[in-house]
Amino acid sequence: MPSLEPQRTAVVVVDLVNHQCTPGRGMLQSWQSAGIDVSYIVDRLQTTTIPANQRLLSAARQVGAKVIFLRVGAYSCDYEDLTPSFRGISAWEPRADLWGAQVVDQLDVVAGDISLIKTGSGGFYTSALDSHLRNMRIEHVIYTGVITNGCVMLTAAGGMDRGYAGYLAKDATATVTPTL
């Protein structure tokens, strides 16, 4: 039997969406404006993180594991449903129906995948992730995405508290520096 039983495993892809990953837009533009060097994360996303996610998602679907995309953003046109500390990102137009909150083009979202808006950082607290995982009797959760020390970590921590066995696919994540 595989170490991770596919029928009990889900891959949770955190925030690999346009407003988080597109150079010159959204989060990366905001960091640049604040004087933060984004060259590392831009390169990491293109050369490492996204290719690793492509391999993992393809393999997961092939063996019948679930794929869940979390997309940080709002449903409400005025962004009032975002966690208060996240309302500042409304300038990036991270709305469920707009370009910013869509999964990046390099990753396919296919029939059977689950794609959820999360209105804050940790996916278990700010989306219906837990309900979907429990309904599917998932026990093992592989986490990927951005940023490693932010939404990915808080999502993984939420999963730990709820009894899921968590796995971080380290090269399928990214953040602003290699040390984080």
Binding site: M1, P2, S3, L4, P6, T9, A52, N53, R55, L56, A59, A60, V63, A65, I142, Y143, T144, T148, M153, A156, A157, G159, M160, A165, G166, Y167, L168, A169, K170, D171, A172
Partner: protein
């Protein structure tokens, strides 16, 4: 702090292999030890 406490940290290709084969994944560290090491 993530590694071994919040989650097992492994390379993507290792996790892909774990979905198809019975391989040994890195062990989960005792939570108290991992927490202590984080500070």
């Amino acid at each position: 702090m993530i590694d071994g406490f919040i989650a097992t940290v492994a390379a993507t290709d290792v996790l892909i292999a774990a979905l198809t084969d019975d391989i040994e994944l890195p062990g989960r560290t005792n939570a108290a030890v991992a927490w202590s090491k984080a500070f």
